[in-house]
């Protein structure tokens, strides 16, 4: 790719993303026209031009042609690589812009992990409390039956004694 069309260059300048890592130019027939950048850094192996892009990059299946701009945040193609993907249409062609998101990902992941772990802990605590409450109700019920049984036994014993002595 020699240079970006002016609209794509404008688009890249207008968005607040970190450094662009790679750019793919795809024609209206989903064929890869050209590409530039460091794809290995994103965990993507080499691409062949003049061939269908969806058969090379499966994640674009169903995404093309892009009518509006599509932004996919934190996409991971390989363990440890994270990318923001912008799919932009320009003059019947599609440009797929890949931005490195690894640093941002690590921060976000850490935060989300803490939130989810806390939610799970709260849930387990509630489940345990519910189980404890059920056990307490059972114990109370057992006590009630036990007391009723003792009272009944005492009553029948008293009746039997009365019959015997009077």
């Amino acid at each position: 790719m020699t240079e970006f069309p002016i609209n794509i260059a404008k688009y890249i300048n207008s968005i607040k993303e970190s450094d662009i890592v790679a750019c793919l130019h795809i024609d209206e027939y989903d064929t890869l026209v050209s590409w530039e950048g460091n794809l290995v850094y994103l965990g993507i192996s080499d691409l062949t031009i003049n061939q269908s892009i969806t058969s090379q990059l499966g994640f674009l299946e169903g995404m093309l042609p892009a009518i509006d701009t599509i932004v996919l945040r934190f996409v991971s193609f390989a363990e440890g690589y994270y990318t923001h993907v912008h799919i932009v249409s320009c003059d019947n062609n599609t440009y797929v812009l890949l931005f490195d998101a690894t640093f941002e990902y690590k921060q976000q992941q850490k935060m989300q992990q803490q939130i989810n772990d806390l939610k799970l802990l709260t849930l387990y605590k509630d489940q345990l409390l519910r189980a404890l409450e059920e056990k307490n109700i059972n114990i109370k019920q057992v006590h009630k039956f036990k007391n009723q049984f003792i009272i009944k036994k005492l009553q029948s014993l008293a009746t039997a004694c009365k019959k015997k002595f009077y």
């Binding site: 169903g62 995404m63 934190f74």
Partner: protein
């Protein structure tokens, strides 16, 4: 002849086992450690159908949530079907799945899906409501009880979804 590609999305609340199901299906691995997904992780797997044909699944393992955000909605474009995952030991994740299904349908239209009641190996903590499940089955929904831990119905789930899509 080029192999047919299908984009499949893994959808469900956080920590229900989406990433674990994909790991079991694609790599035959399982880990007890919970590492929450941020964004989306893309995997591929070639699946052989009973008729001898092959289909390449492009799996989009989407970050868990109880509702569809603008970020997650953008991942759905072009999906041919989806697996709706529920944690059988947490009842609220069932309701999340029902809400998510409606939101997904609004976003991409009606697509084949299967509900997976995951973590079936934890039967003593099972919280699913049999009546609600029966109701959905009667409505024609496909539900499967799965375990990413012991592999129960994992391969089956993907295969059945493939069959629903062909």
């Amino acid at each position: 002849m080029a192999i047919l590609q299908k984009k499949i999305c893994m959808i469900g609340d956080f920590s229900v086992g989406k990433t674990s199901l994909v790991a079991k299906f694609v790599r035959q691995t399982f880990s007890d450690k919970y590492l929450t997904t941020v964004g989306v992780k893309i995997d591929t797997k070639l699946l052989k159908l009973p008729d001898g044909n092959q289909v390449k699944f492009i799996l989009w393992d989407i970050a868990g949530s109880d509702s569809l955000t603008t970020t997650t909605a953008s991942y759905l474009r072009g999906a041919a079907g989806f697996l709706l995952v529920v944690d059988g030991t947490r009842l609220p994740t069932w309701n999340s799945a029902l809400n998510l299904r409606l939101a997904v349908e609004k976003q991409i239209g009606s697509k084949p899906f299967i509900i997976l009641l995951n973590k079936a190996d934890l039967q003593e903590q099972w919280e699913m409501n049999e009546q609600a499940i029966e109701e959905k089955t009667k409505q024609g929904w496909k539900l499967l009880t799965t375990s990413a831990k012991n592999g129960m119905n994992v391969e089956q789930a993907f295969l059945e979804l493939a069959l629903l899509m062909t």
